[in-house]
């Protein structure tokens, strides 16, 4: 169902260069069980994520995943790759619905490496989550850097 990726956490940010990439992670197919389990953990029981008759009556083709389910997996994948102390900023935009049955690929590529006034190096990454049929369901940006 899920591949956590082969990267070992804890590299040095200074070793990253423009074009460095997080090993892609594939997750899927997304099932109703995943969405119900996520709803239970978070406490948000929006019926759009489990009631197919309701969502179809509203013009959707079926149940779709919570945006934060996809964003959360992206966040955890970045943390697993870079190390849990390295995520400084994460911005995500929900571009397309994730439908039941979708298999997703999580990617992040370094756009920029810089050093701030305190001599701390940080890396800015462009993040995407893509479905197998080529839809970009989430786009985003992350900043990695050593924290206190």
């Amino acid at each position: 169902m899920t591949d956590r990726g082969s990267a070992v956490a804890g590299f040095r940010i200074a070793d990253l260069a423009v074009g460095s990439a997080m090993p892609p992670r594939r997750v899927g197919p997304v099932t109703q069980e995943h969405l119900v389990r996520y709803a239970g953990a978070g406490g948000d029981f929006n019926p759009f994520h489990y009631d197919s008759a309701l969502v179809q009556s509203r013009g959707f083709k079926g149940v779709f995943a919570q945006g934060l389910f996809t964003a959360g997996i992206l966040g955890q994948t970045l943390l697993a790759w870079a190390g849990e102390n390295m995520l400084r900023r994460l911005r995500v935009r929900f571009a397309e619905p994730v439908w039941l049955g979708d298999t997703l690929t999580f990617c992040a590529v370094v756009d920029r490496v810089s050093t701030d006034d305190n001599a701390l190096t940080q890396a800015d990454l462009r993040c995407t989550v893509t479905s197998e049929d080529g839809r970009q369901v989430l786009t985003g940006a992350a900043t990695l850097g050593a924290s206190r």
């Binding site: 899920t2 978070g42 934060l68 955890q76 943390l79 400084r88 900023r89 995500v92 206190r148």
Partner: protein, 155 residues
């Protein structure tokens, strides 16, 4: 646009960071590493890291009425929940948070604005949720954008 929306009082509550909840989230997010998050070992190193994904939804569990701000607006009839979609979420992390810690949470509506397309009127609700230690030290800031979509021919 109704600027009175911006006069809504911020919501404040305390968010107790619990290891079991972090672990439940890890499993729900398909994190198969049994060591993540780790239980507090009682020493300086490492307790469970608070998972970022919990923070945007913690109001469901810990706010007084069990609602995040956007659903409170919906309950008050100021937003049509059935027309809401999630737009963006941005996390800015100032430091890590640990299980056993209590965080003070302040959630407020920061901006409301409309955009029009040929077919729809889109109302954007931007919320800022600040997480601080009980001493006031910044831990995390989350900015969320929810969009209410209304077709022009519905009006």
């Amino acid at each position: 646009m109704d600027q009175d929306l911006l006069k809504q009082a911020p919501t404040e509550f305390v968010f107790p960071v619990e290891w079991g909840k972090c672990r439940e989230f890890a499993l729900a997010l398909l994190d198969s590493d049994p060591a993540s998050p780790k239980p507090d070992d009682g020493g300086d190193d490492p307790a469970a890291l608070l998972m970022p994904a919990i923070m945007p939804v913690c109001a469901f569990r810990y706010s007084q009425d069990g609602l995040p701000a956007i659903l409170r607006l919906a309950q008050a009839g100021l937003v049509d929940r059935s027309r809401l979609v999630q737009g963006e979420v941005e996390f800015e992390f100032h430091r890590r948070a640990w299980s056993g810690e209590q965080l003070s949470v302040t959630e407020k509506l920061a901006k409301v604005y409309d955009k029009e397309t040929s077919k729809e009127v889109l109302r954007f609700f931007e919320f800022e949720t600040a997480f601080r230690s009980l001493d006031g030290e910044p831990v995390c800031m989350i900015r969320t954008v929810n969009i209410e979509r209304r077709r022009k021919d519905d009006d």
